[in-house]
Symmetry: C2
Subunit: 388 residues, 2 copies
């Protein structure tokens, strides 16, 4: 396989974007990424788009073609493919774009991720998000994602002594980072007390333990690493693209506190990159709920199983800690337009490795990891990037 | 890129399958394909699934993981990815599986396609199918696919003198083939008079000019061609995988009778295979409506533009003609469970090249082409296969 580089990145504002349509958002992110990359539009060989449920949210399937069309690429007849893996749709799109270039089939590929979750007709966002859970065993009976992650959280508290305060500190940390990210949905600090005393959604998860409902799009340009210099001096290399799956329903798993898809996708990625968790300088992990970040740093091998809560206490994952996690603000503060999330995570890592992360820059960042989860962990992607 | 082979195929019955669930259908097709291939389940490295709108049809997104789970692969944590491109979802899944093997990332990949379109709650099949059209310019105003293809048909009649009889003969031919396909939804011949006098759906397309609403699943096993002999002596090679896009809305095209996505996907495929249309022994083309088959044989270069109707008169595309088209019965008679269609087309070509097509076998078939279209042509894939 050929080496693959990220040569351009583009983000829209994340948030409640009542005045912007699905088409406008993806075209904006794509145009920014192409401008950042130095390519001309006619050099684009293929496109991939991650979107979870445009069919339900905006009554539009056939999203690959729509995005090519809205971005002005339909007239060049560029192949455009939508991939879907619930909230890991963006990570899957990055991995398919990576394979398209690594295979030698295409030289320059644009990867986008998008979701428009506000200003939608029909069903509620929570109801549509529940289609990422097992319809027959979970969603049909009324289970929603806050409820599913609440079960994971209570079990984690029972098995490992994790506390509500430790979970709340994840939200506090990620909001501190979000303040420094101009694209974040929430650019304000929140106090530990505010998180602990927020409206309870599903015990032990209060409103501020949950990532928000968001609109937004993210886009990157990939090209064969050997051709990157032709376009930019700001390229970063994708040195691993791991992916794994697990049962859709929580009840079918041996241990609900371990996301085996994360464990296996990480194993695949570390093997491909010939690295261990200790080699990672910073990570974006999938904090759809605060407990999810705690599970993630355990399952990715950054700390031992059960010690994710203590890692928060010990400030390991703060921006000045030994392993900064979610410097972008994470899903919690940056926002979580589900199809865009996996692409936006790769963008934050790329910006950090380029030295372009401005006020939230981690010094001497050389190797970063992006971890994207679908649903309660039935799909996971892990990408590792390295400065060039 | 490495050469890629199809080493196993599996189909469910296509039809109104009230007694079988989405999960049962995809597990059945996958199990048949794996059994046919000679691999053991633990050799599967990755899975791809094409499905157009499971989110709307059955209230379930996250279909990649669901299919891995329903097929017993979640416990092996095999990466599983859903791709969507409306009625070309199956073709896109084949192409992504092809790239995953060609790249060297995975050795053995199972590709599935599925749609469950009957026995669904909420909206009608026609309403959900319309999400493959442009929501803002077409579907919102009430346009459905019979109406969209009717516009293509009337223009084709106006520009090239194509007749209702020529279109009707496409249906007659495909039903004759469907009689010989044990998996087809309609295994009965229909007369020219029956097609011409059927209930009008959208002039000039009557009920028997339209493919049906169907349930069904299809699955193939791909592996690196150099390893195919290890498993089977019935492998066929994928020698090209083309894909292209076009505007979503019909009004934005220069000429609505030419599907530019077909033209460009075919061009990409012929170039990769180093072949011309004259080298193709047989083809499965996307006959969602009878006019679509006429456009397809023109746009694929088998006949000149405007001569698709005459080709039917001259019996070029019948099973004993110089270029048999839709020996499976096509979407018209075999059925059109949209996500499954692109995979099922590749299966028909593979069976013909293996000499396993039984009573509908085309003698001396060496090279075949599969052509899958999304919506009114905003997405197209063209695969070319060769006997090994």
């Amino acid at each position: 396989m050929r080496d693959v580089a990220v040569i351009g990145v583009g983000l829209t504002q994340f948030g409640e974007l009542w005045e912007k349509s699905f088409r406008e958002l993806i075209a904006e992110a794509g145009a920014k990424a192409i401008l950042d990359s130095g390519i001309s539009g006619k050099e684009v060989d293929a496109m991939y788009v991650g979107s979870m449920s445009s069919g339900r949210f905006i009554g539009q399937e056939h999203i690959g073609a729509l995005v090519a069309d809205a971005s002005g690429f339909s007239f060049a007849h560029v192949p455009s493919t939508r991939v879907e893996g619930a909230c890991a749709s963006g990570g899957l799109a990055v991995r398919q774009g990576y394979l398209a270039v690594a295979s030698g089939m295409h030289d320059v590929v644009v990867v986008g991720g998008i979701e428009k979750m506000n200003d939608v007709g029909g069903t509620s966002a929570t109801e549509t998000l529940a289609t990422a859970a097992d319809q027959e065993w979970e969603a049909f009976f009324g289970a929603t994602f806050p409820g599913i992650y609440a079960m994971i959280a209570t079990r984690h508290m029972h098995d490992y002594g994790t506390t509500r305060e430790q979970m709340a500190q994840v939200a506090v940390k990620n909001h501190m980072n979000g303040v420094l990210n101009p694209y974040a949905q929430y650019r304000k600090e929140i106090s530990l007390d505010a998180v602990l005393n927020a409206t309870m959604v599903a015990y032990p998860l209060g409103l501020l333990d949950c990532s928000p409902v968001s609109d937004g799009a993210a886009s990157i340009v990939l090209c064969a690493a050997e051709k990157a210099k032709k376009y930019t001096n700001k390229a970063v290399k994708i040195i691993a693209a791991g992916q794994a799956s697990d049962t859709l329903a929580l009840h079918a798993r041996e241990n609900i506190c371990t996301l085996q898809a994360t464990v296996h996708a990480a194993k695949m990625a570390y093997k491909q990159a010939n690295l261990t968790p200790k080699d990672i300088d910073l990570a974006e992990v999938h904090d759809c709920f605060t407990i999810a970040e705690i599970c993630a740093i355990e399952d990715l091998g950054f700390v031992k199983k059960g010690e994710g809560g203590k890692a928060i206490d010990n400030r390991i994952t703060t921006r000045d800690g030994s392993l900064p996690v979610n410097t972008s603000g994470g899903l919690k503060a940056k926002g979580h337009p589900v199809g865009a999330t996996g692409v936006a995570q790769v963008i934050e890592i790329a910006l950090q490795l380029r030295g372009d992360a401005e006020k939230r820059q981690v010094p001497d960042a050389r190797i970063g990891l992006a971890h994207n989860v679908g649903g309660s962990g039935a799909t996971c992607t892990v990408h590792i990037l390295e400065a060039m």
